[in-house]
Subunit: 556 residues, 2 copies
């Protein structure tokens, strides 16, 4: 079988200026990074703000399982298919994080014949956005310790510094460290640590900023520490916001690449989907909408986490209104949701598929609650049986939706034309009446309860010690209007990753809350969330290298 | 007065493809980074290896003082002047480090009307080379702790890990840290620290590698730790060398930019000039030589440190033979070398100039010892008096050289034409008979003694406890053939930074030695060397920001 990288390497890429031309952008509107990557320049972005926006389509999925759903693959396939049927469509997805590629093998952007290229660069430094975020984040960290070193005029309580450092690397030894050892000239010792760059609030900010001014303002609002009498200390108090903006100036410009079928894709930003909102940048989505009839984008994890955050955080803060949603499922993943073990996925099991459809049905219901027309994309795997496929289609028909069999993995855009036509019908039918789940005015705790009970279907939400008091303090401090971002396992509607299907009546414990005043949301942590991964016993790095032709081996 | 940044902003830059065309490179030979930066692609580099090399001219200087010498300015001015008189000339200099720009104001590449642009990008992320080096360095660090975590098959002694981590940021709190706290899942605790990225051995390796294969081999030879029985553990033992090469693949390609007069400049690599060799990359210099009649390059600090390392490390390892050297001096710096305080530099003082010329004379002598014809470039400052200038010219004439007054700062290449003609005379006169200071076969300790006595004119070199034994061990381990890189204050021939002029008879203590088996040199540390700077009380970052026109303010 041909692998993703083999297919990607035989792609007949067009020069990136030709892809830009398809968006109506001239050579002067872009900054090229080699032959097949570019950024859309700030001055070109500024010229777009008066244009009308096209239609926004969200691709989301059932709860992820080790069987794989192919959400990005479907996003790319749908984008290619829409272009095939005459709709000028741009795809918007997240950038990959460099570090994890040296642990497990790096990912393609999509798969099979529905991919975005150049895959190698996108898995490595790409256009340097994440490096810029790392630098901006760590400049702020250095300025905190430097402020304390030179006298601590702001009276920062060194026990209450919440701003850690970041690195785009899987390095467990940096999770928990003591800095400032070695004597007077190295500063005051204290305990802190590193997160991976995608977990940085700067990443979330870059992805939610409308423009450079908004970026600057958000960076200034970052709360990095508290004083002994619990007053927040911000990046602006430290006068770090201007320099951070300068470091991020180029990174804020969205990256233009292409699909295997030479359709435009903006790949920009990559916040965590648990402690952050998990979508590509607002600026990329907005730019694509102003340059296209249709924009196909996706959100991290399943619809319970990803779509909810996309809608309640990104769309709310950016004033976006999606016109339709596509819910991706596979027979294999439905079987796992129906209780089948991974090693038994090869055996036909219609009953398990039907049981697993409960998960799909729950997501359909939730998405309709946001006022969105939804169709199901059944991403075809070669081993799916006709009876299993029919079972999913039957389930969807009985639940007021349609399951469309998609073969973009094998056939590219041609394999998703039926899905594309269905999406156009939904969009042009005008069935969308988008509404967020909760209003800004609701209290922070009520927002948490609303998400947990209405989306996750919990019976009860439990606040661990100090959580409610902390939320009250932030409301007094003027942060009560912010939306809430729940950090929770992506494998279940509950906090138990093994509880597949459509559980209800569970209890969700809120262990800790964090304020992202710059990004503009409050994080509620429900369960263990890892913000700095480690490398496995035999990291992929051990087998990565250049072959005799100078091509990269072992990364994919 | 017009500042460097004001002059740089009004530059009439040519599209970088036009600059490439001046080198005979087509659009397919370069990778563009925006309109005014590019990398010369590996495939184009591979096509050059059979071409003859042009003439290499080294620009070096007297010992630096706070008065400034203008070495880079002279390098640029000479390059522009050579182009003006009809010699196809390329300039090669180092890249700037990002982090320090947020401490003190960032530097221009050159000054006045002799600059390389785009200045802003070159002071920020540029083409991402330093970020790639940071990533490669820290991947290796993560793989060391990961190896220990999973069982430590190589029996690494955690007390004897010499490989630290790096960040391109001035962050004193990271100099001395403890990692691996927090329990079993975070690994084994140990004390370590961060250096600034330019101090990384990976930086030195990138700057000494001939091509990707050589880069790979050098990375594999890095010694990161020792076992309990003192056997070295290398990056290859950890199987990190392939992935590090992949991370550095793009960074190894030299960066093409231009002077204010639209002449080509390769700005590539930036190793420290104390614990490393302080020159731009071999690959940039070699590429420039194969594409030009003349290449003008410079070395870090004064000629005692910079030129010696350029000649004994870079030229030795790369098989380069310079055709001439230019020694930069200013009346002001000579006055300081003659004992004048900084605040008195505005007053004419011919006697001090003459006393300070002892420093210049010593460097002239040393450079001639390498078999190079040398001329003195007297970089003109507006306050220099005619009598002071005449004193320098007279000194040089009496010491078998010529001091040529240069006005490139005020007038660009036109102000350095006389210097250019003198350089052409030296080169075409064929007076060069380049020889290194010592042969490979000399023992490591003798190499140290030779540099200290013949270049620094020390009476005696003192090895602190353990140094000689360590050198013996490395010689037994097969590293005895390596050249030596002395880390010492740049302000004096001695290890006392206040001892200006031409001291002799001093003692040089060798405090510590380090093996850079990958880069290919042994470092001898004589005095305190800082490898992670701190930020000042009011870092430049506090006033850096974007103005209303989106331009960067406060960085320069």
């Amino acid at each position: 079988m041909t692998t993703d990288i083999q297919i990607a390497r035989t792609a007949r890429k067009l020069p990136i200026v030709d892809i830009a031309a398809r968006l109506g952008l001239g050579e002067g509107d872009i900054l090229r990074y080699g032959a097949d990557k570019a950024k859309i320049a700030h001055h070109a972005l500024n010229g777009l703000t008066d244009r009308p926006r096209g239609h926004l389509v969200l691709v989301t999925a059932i709860n992820p399982t080790p069987a794989g759903e192919g959400k990005t693959t479907t996003t790319v396939g749908l984008g290619d298919a829409l272009n095939r049927i005459g709709k000028r469509t741009t795809i918007c997805i997240r950038e990959a994080s460099l570090g994890p590629n040296f642990g497990m093998k790096g990912g393609a952007a999509g798969g099979g014949h529905a991919q975005i290229v150049p895959m190698e660069e996108m898995n490595l430094h790409f256009t340097g956005d994440f490096h810029a975020i790392t630098a901006a984040h760590n400049l702020l960290a250095a300025m905190i310790d430097n402020h304390i070193y030179w006298g601590n005029d702001l009276d920062i309580d060194t026990r209450r510094i919440t701003w850690r450092r970041v690195m785009d690397m899987n390095d467990r030894a940096l999770r928990d460290i003591v800095v400032g050892l070695g004597g007077v000239s190295n500063g005051f010792s204290r305990q802190t640590g590193f997160d991976i760059t995608v977990a940085s609030e700067v990443m979330a900010i870059l992805c939610l900023a409308h423009d450079l001014d908004d970026l600057h303002a958000r960076l200034g609002r970052i709360v990095v520490a508290y004083t002994r009498d619990r007053r927040p200390v911000t990046a602006r108090d430290l006068r770090a916001d201007g320099a951070m903006t300068v470091l991020l100036r180029d990174a804020l410009q969205p990256n233009l690449v292409q699909t295997l079928e030479n359709n435009p894709a903006l790949v920009h930003g990559g916040p965590f989907a648990n402690i952050a909102h998990g979508c590509n940048s607002v600026i990329a989505t907005d730019t694509a909408l102003r340059l296209s009839d249709y924009v196909v984008t996706e959100a991290g994890f399943g619809a319970d986490l990803g779509a909810e955050k996309f809608l309640d955080i990104k769309c709310r803060l950016a004033g976006l209104a999606p016109a339709a949603a596509v819910l991706v499922a596979t027979v294999r993943a439905l079987k796992m949701n129906g209780g089948v073990a991974r090693e038994d996925l090869g055996t036909e099991n219609v009953a398990a598929v039907v049981r697993g459809c409960a998960n799909l049905g729950r997501h359909l219901e939730n998405l309709r609650g946001f006022g969105l027309p939804v169709t199901v994309a059944l991403n075809h795997f070669l081993g799916d049986s006709a009876a299993e496929i029919a079972a999913v289609q039957d389930y969807c028909a009985r639940h007021g939706s349609t399951a469309i069999l998609c073969q973009h993995w094998a056939r590219g855009g041609a394999g998703a034309e039926e899905l594309a036509r269905r999406v156009v019908d939904m969009v042009e039918g005008g069935g969308a009446d988008f509404r967020t789940l909760y209003p800004d005015s609701m209290s922070l705790w009520q927002k948490i309860e609303t998400i947990c009970t209405r989306i996750y279907r919990a019976a009860h939400v439990e606040a661990l010690s100090g959580v409610r008091a902390q939320l009250d303090l932030w409301e007094e401090g003027g942060h009560g209007h912010l939306p809430v971002c729940i950090a929770k396992t992506q494998y279940s509607f509950s906090t138990d990753p093994d509880l597949r299907g459509a559980p209800e009546g569970h209890v969700i414990p809120v262990r800790e809350v964090r304020l992202n005043a710059g990004a503009g949301f409050v994080v509620a942590i429900c369960g263990e969330i890892m913000t700095m991964p480690g490398l496995p016993r035999h990291p992929a790095a051990e087998t990565i290298g250049l072959n005799d032709m100078g091509q990269i081996e072992g990364l994919f």
